[in-house]
């Protein structure tokens, strides 16, 4: 898998954050959903985002991915101001995401799904005169990605015939096909059985160390094992930022969030 | 020309009259679209049938007022049959297929009126009570055209209160906002949609009757008015009374003034306006907020 080369793109050194969301504020109507949230991720960092439902996690995600333009604040990606850029521009700058609800090409096969992502990643999507089948490099990388993520058995299965857990894996595989610098995962284990959750956890843990991760997760245990640092959101505000240990030991978090479990 | 107050008054009244016709046509189309994401291309055909039914009523009963009552009812009845026979069965189909079925109906309607009423144009006389003119701000203006404006305003007010004050109105407003939610609450959206659809047909028929004494009645009269109506819906933003009102007003005025000030541009002004609106607001001027 070529994801390890992502780092070599040379965006920023270790002291410039690879993702920097500064004082993000956003309202829906009169509802303040994101209240001056600041988030900095160092290259290779694995950052968790937790908070109760309605804490504004997915909104923040959508702002970082570019689906929503915030009322105020800025987003920098590898030092580039992307606040006003559309999602596709951000993706081309090295930001990939998975979706909370599977967002796949359900009536195509796994191979076709990965090849579509591969065509974009290899920047051949505009080629209209040469058969897609002859772009061997695209299909080869799709296949090797499938092998790396344990999807090779189902390469030629139509997505809607796959189990939910496998679809969830493909959701992440599609994002990885872009060979991103930073990967946003929106509740990767949502709706999964314990076995599927364990498999997903292993898959995320096995991602290249150089890949920066921002993960929303409800399953606290998943996050405590995976993350280097965690941001706790509550009513759109940052309640706490720190290591998993600090979060676990925080009285505020215990009373506001963990206590509810 | 523009500085002549008489010109301004007359053209503005003409514009208002067209606006009111467009309003009668667009409101049904718009609300049905807002509720069901369904667009009825045969809406113009209903307008044409309304005019023809008025023609027959006038011939039989020798009274415009009977026609004004009977013809829209006839059109509403046709709409109800159309709903029961076709529309009800194709709500699961893609919008494209729904649109194309109504597209087929245009052909059917076109030849149907040719079969029944012949291909030659007809007119009906303006009712005696309204066949005169009045002085408006010093300008002489036909009474009948003022009647059209007054009728449009009356319908507008009635619809406004109907939407705000009645149970059906509440269901319609909620249905436009989020149909699934309303259905989940156990409210029969289907029935509300049927009623709204018939009301829309009735209004289209009404528009056909009132325009019959002013414009000639001929097979194909449905086309140009349909396109204008669609533009009203696009510009105003489908699903809202406000959108239909503002859209009708803007299009009615721009078309009227465009035709007299720059006739060589044909309706290009209207299309340019629509393009401009879409550039700034792709969902129309008054989009109904979609609940997610």
């Amino acid at each position: 898998m070529s994801t390890t080369t992502a780092h070599a793109r040379g965006h920023g050194s270790t002291d410039t954050p690879i993702l920097h969301a500064e004082a993000i504020t956003h309202t829906f109507g009169s509802l303040l959903v994101t209240d001056s949230v600041t988030l900095e991720l160092a290259p290779g960092e694995r950052h968790g985002l937790i908070g109760p439902n309605g804490a504004g996690k997915t909104t923040l995600f959508n702002i970082i991915a570019g689906e929503i333009v915030p009322d105020s604040g800025s987003v920098h990606l590898g030092g580039v101001d992307v606040t006003r850029l559309k999602p596709d521009r951000r993706a081309r700058l090295g930001l990939a995401r998975s979706f909370q609800h599977n967002n796949l090409f359900t009536d195509l096969t796994v191979r076709e799904n990965l090849s579509i992502a591969g065509a974009i990643a290899h920047r051949v999507g505009h080629v209209a005169w040469r058969a897609f089948a002859r772009h061997r490099e695209v299909h080869a990388s799709a296949e090797s990605l499938a092998v790396a993520l344990g999807l090779e058995e189902v390469l030629d299965t139509v997505v809607r015939h796959l189990s939910y857990g496998t679809q969830r894996q493909l959701e992440i595989a599609l994002a990885l096909a872009l060979d991103p610098m930073i990967l946003l995962l929106d509740e990767p284990t949502a709706g999964m059985s314990p076995e599927e959750t364990a498999a997903m956890k292993a898959m995320i843990a096995a991602l290249p160390a150089s890949l920066t991760l921002l993960v929303i997760e409800h399953d606290m245990e998943v996050l405590f094992d995976l993350a280097d640092r965690i941001t706790v959101l509550d009513y759109g505000k940052v309640l706490l930022q720190g290591t998993p240990r600090e979060v676990r030991d925080s009285d505020v978090v215990r009373s506001r969030y963990l206590g509810m479990q | 020309m523009l500085l002549d107050p008489g010109f301004l008054i007359v053209q503005t009244l003409n514009g208002l009259q067209l606006s009111m016709l467009l309003f009668l046509l667009s409101i049904g189309l718009s609300v049905v679209f807002g509720m069901m994401n369904f667009i009825n291309l045969a809406h113009g055909t209903l307008y044409m049938v309304g005019a023809y039914l008025a023609l027959s009523s006038v011939r039989w009963f020798d009274s415009y007022w009977v026609a004004l009552v009977l013809a829209p009812l006839g059109v509403a009845l046709i709409g109800a049959v159309f709903y029961a026979v076709l529309l009800r069965h194709m709500q699961r189909q893609s919008p494209m297929r729904q649109v194309l079925v109504t597209f087929g109906l245009i052909f059917v309607g076109f030849d149907a009126v040719r079969m029944v009423w012949g291909a030659l144009p007809h007119t009906i006389p303006i009712p005696a009570a309204l066949d005169g003119s009045v002085t408006v701000f010093g300008e002489i203006y036909p009474t009948y055209r003022l009647f059209i404006i007054a009728l449009g305003v009356t319908v507008l007010i009635a619809l406004h209160f109907g939407l705000e004050r009645t149970r059906l109105g509440a269901v319609v407003r909620a249905g436009v906002d989020d149909r699934r939610m309303v259905a989940a609450l156990g409210i029969d959206v289907e029935r509300a949609f049927f009623l709204v659809f018939c009301l829309g047909c009735w209004l289209a028929g009404l528009a056909g009757v009132v325009s019959a004494p002013v414009f000639s009645i001929f097979p194909g009269m449905d086309m140009s008015i349909l396109i204008l109506t669609l533009i009203v819906v696009v510009v105003g933003g489908p699903g809202s009374l406000k959108g239909a009102v503002v859209g009708s007003f803007v299009i009615g005025m721009v078309d009227t003034y465009g035709q007299v000030l720059a006739p060589e541009l044909a309706r290009v002004t209207i299309y340019a306006l629509m393009a401009a609106v879409l550039l700034v607001r792709p969902q129309g001027l008054f989009p109904v907020s979609q609940a997610h």
Binding site: D88, A121, F132 | V99, A112
Partner: protein
Amino acid sequence: MIGRDPLHLPVAAALVIAAGVAWYGGDFFRHEVLAEIAIYAILAMSLDLLVGYAGLVSLGHAAFFAAGAYATAACTVFFGWPVSAATVAAVGCAAALAAVAGVFVIRVSGVFFIMITLALGQMVYAYFFKASEFGKDDGMAGIPRPDLSMIGLDATDPQVFSALTLIAAFGVWALLRTVVGSPFGAMLVAIHRNESRVRALGCPVPRYKLAAFVLAGAIGGFAGSLIAQHSGFVSPDLGFWTVSGEVLIMVIIGGMGSLVGAALGAVVMVLLRHELSHRAFWEAIGLPADLASYWQFVMGLIFIAIVLLAGDGLYGRLLTTWRRLRRS
């Protein structure tokens, strides 16, 4: 690559052979009809790129048909250009119109897209209807056919011209087949299936939609140029929205997302239109010949039936049947 379509080559070959046989033994009338079929097949295939692949249901495709026809008329009649140059200009004009209009129309989707393209088509129609330089509602006459005397042929002979249009239709099929089989074609299909995901993967979706719109418009303009050469005159009716609707129905009858299907739909529709408006047809099936003057009524009912019953269209039916046979 995307989507498995094992029958398109055999069906295309069957169509080519059928066209060849029909052409070889044909009389004057049949050659006229063949040319018409070929031209509408080109128009329908170009629309299928939008509807069947990119998922952009346009009800204004006749705008490009008319633009190409009028551009050909203007270049040949006004400027005296050779037909070949006029054809190129027609394609260019239609592409330019598609590029300008496309910037606006691709901003919206779904039923809105249908309405906005409908308005676009009517705008072009209204323009030609009122434009005195193009003969207003009378249109323009005296458009020549290509000069083939260099190779000893006379394009005014319907047999020659119909062969020309059939070859053009085949060429357009081959071109569009290349496009839909390319990565670009795969992106269009992907956008159709799941636009938000494609965007999140980094694809500049509007640019792709615009490119498809322009390509379809250009080919629509090519068809328009051929229809002008075929009939020798142009009128605003070429841009009327019923033309757009009929072409859309061709695509649906034939089966969306399969270019040969669109061509098949053109065959069915053109033949149907010819037969239904013929008194002899109605007499032959024992019905009053007067029905011929109300052929639109019958056509409308057939439209409705087709849209309600066609499902995946003729080609889709064929695919399903073939798969079932293979499985058993």
